[in-house]
């Protein structure tokens, strides 16, 4: 698990550290060059001073000055050393602590040389008139110590400051992330039922898109659950009425003294069981259609419309119902989409057509035939009032003139199954007479 807080603290500490290191490096480099410059100037001045004394002929005084140029501070004492050489190579005078060996070559100006294993920086003045060479030198080791001490002095506070800085960053990041914690706490404290949106107004702008996405999800979950509740409530209601009918008829069958009444009640029980079975089957189909995601259209194969329809007609056939015609041209029609969805769609449309035709005009004809881009079915039922056409695909909608057998689910299932098979279902009243025409069309002709 990655903690945003830990991440932020580490990044901030690393960034601060890098900046500190760069600054230290830069200070080191610039202090060093500045110090070199200052010390070099001091060497030059000391050399000139000694030389001017030598030029005045006062070697003893020069020697005294050379002694005096040694700074008295502890740690850095005997920093400067001075030698006065004659041009013929004799050491005329030297400061105390200065080595016997020449500090530099014969050339004038700055030079560096190692004497007795110790590196020196030396300024040399050549005076041919007086026949002397004045050399003033610095131990480079001492110079380095000076720079080191300077930088160490700069870096020492870091040891205290870095933990302090870390602590401050930790606290600041914690406070900065507090709104996030507040939102997380709000969401975590909810029970499974609470789908109120998280208030994004109070939250910082950075997490607002996240909260809006979460609220969007909440809304979707809530809508899905409400629909589930509605369907469950509807299903419970829809099942209670047939159950009440079954129980009443059963009680009549038990209580009736005469055979015709008893037989009538038993017959009604059979019809009711058939209808209830269909209702349960449709409820299950609906739940399945709603509960499972659509398979990709490309993945599903093709189904021959004629064969599938003849199957359905055989399965749903009941004695003494309507006359069903399946056009032979449908054998050449290949339907795209999930076979189960196609079956559900066609079966529900067929059952619907048969039911209304039988009730309205017994012995009427139900005709399945191909049409542009798909297929259609025409029945000889009463049709649907024009103002109810947009409503009939709603769950449990049965219309004002509903027939008793319908569950109000057939057209809902057919519409959903058609969508799943990538097709569109259109319902219209036939203009050539009474009845309904249901047309299923695939956007890109499947026929």
């Amino acid at each position: 698990m990655s903690s945003l807080k830990r991440r932020l603290v580490l990044i901030l500490l690393a960034a601060t550290g890098v900046i500190w290191l760069c600054a230290t490096g830069w200070i080191y480099a610039s202090s060093r060059s500045e110090l070199e410059h200052v010390l070099d100037t001091r060497l030059q001045e000391a050399a000139r001073m000694v030389h001017s004394l030598v030029a005045g002929g006062n070697i003893a005084a020069a020697e005294a000055v050379a002694q005096a140029t040694v700074p008295p501070e502890a740690g850095y004492e005997r920093q400067l050393s001075c030698q006065i050489w004659s041009l013929d190579g004799r050491l005329v005078a030297k400061s105390g602590g200065a080595p016997e060996e020449a500090l530099a070559g014969p050339a004038e100006g700055f030079s560096e040389r190692t004497v007795n294993g110790e590196p020196w920086r030396v300024y040399t003045i050549l005076d041919p008139d007086k026949g002397v060479r004045v050399m003033v030198g610095d131990r480079i080791g001492l110079r380095d110590r000076l720079v080191r001490d300077l930088v160490a002095g700069l870096l020492a506070p870091v040891i205290f400051i870095v933990p302090l800085l870390g602590l401050l960053i930790w606290i600041s990041v914690g406070r900065g992330l507090a709104p996030l914690h507040a939102v997380a706490g709000d969401i975590a404290a909810r029970d499974g039922e609470d789908m109120r949106p998280v208030a994004p107004a109070a939250a910082p702008a950075e997490i607002r898109p996240l909260l809006e996405a979460i609220n969007g999800l909440f809304a979707k979950v809530e809508a899905a659950r409400r629909q589930e509740r509605d369907v469950t409530a509807f299903a419970a209601h829809e099942l209670r009425t047939p159950l009440a009918g079954l129980k009443t008829q059963a009680q009549i069958a038990l209580a009736a003294h005469d055979a015709p009444t008893r037989e009538g009640a038993l017959r009604q029980i059979l019809v009711s069981v058939d209808r209830t079975t269909r209702l349960v089957r449709q409820l299950l189909a609906l739940a399945k259609l709603e509960g499972t995601p659509s398979p990709p259209l490309e993945a599903s194969g093709e189904t021959e419309a004629g064969a599938l329809l003849r199957d359905i007609v055989r399965q749903t056939a009941k004695p003494g119902t309507a006359h069903v015609v399946v056009d032979d041209a449908l054998d050449a029609v290949k339907l795209k989409g999930d076979r189960e969805a196609l079956h559900l769609m066609l079966r529900n449309l067929h059952e619907n057509a048969v039911e209304h035709t039988v009730e309205h005009a017994a012995g009427g004809t139900i005709a399945w035939r191909p049409c542009a881009g798909g297929l259609c079915v025409e029945d000889e039922g009463p049709g649907i009032p024009e103002d109810e056409l947009p409503l009939v695909t709603r769950r449990f909608y049965r219309g004002r003139s509903r027939s008793g057998a319908g569950s109000g689910l057939g057209l809902t299932i057919a519409t959903m199954a058609a969508a799943r098979a990538g097709a569109r279902l259109t319902l219209e009243n036939r203009c050539d007479g009474a009845g309904l025409r249901a047309t299923i069309v695939w956007p890109r002709a499947a026929a």
Partner: protein, 220 residues
Amino acid sequence: MRILVVEDDPILMDGLKVGLGLAGATVDDATTCADARAALAAARFDAVVLDVMLPDGSGLDVLASLRAQGDATPVLLLTALDEAPDRVRGLDGGADDYLGKPFDLDELNARVRAIARRGHGRAGPLLKVGALVLDPATLAATLDGQSIALSRREFAVLSTLMERPGVIRSRMEIEERLYGWQEEVESNAVEVHIHNLRAKVGRETIETVRGLGYRVRGPA
């Protein structure tokens, strides 16, 4: 007892008609709110069994308009929506009783008898006039403690007269209690039933008021 049943499921409707009929009631049916309003406007019922979810609206609306017209016909709501808030809404909407689906036929019959009884301003379950006692729950009749056999229609005629002793009931009123709309009414059916009843319970019990109808003499 004449009852209007408003229910859109054909099998349940059939069951209610037969079931209430077995208990001695005459049943008229309506499958929509519109049919129910028309029926209630056309005839007087002893009780109404009303489904709430109807194809063209809510039974509660039918109930509300009935009560708004000042009609006190007892109403029993029969519905799949039987959560407590639904029951409260129904009863506060003017219903006299409430029964959830599925229900027990005997209980429905008892509840319908109970609201019809109260509709007639009577609390006791038995109809008594003198030595004659009718029990609407069992369709049993006794005279001086002796059981008498009555047909369903005879029982209906006698109970109609005994519900309000001393009050004259016209032949039309009695016919309405005996026959639903779909039933053929023979022109002299009431006279035949009265004649047979007099033979069983005594001539003097049922009095003919010429030109007006019949009445059962109250305990004088």
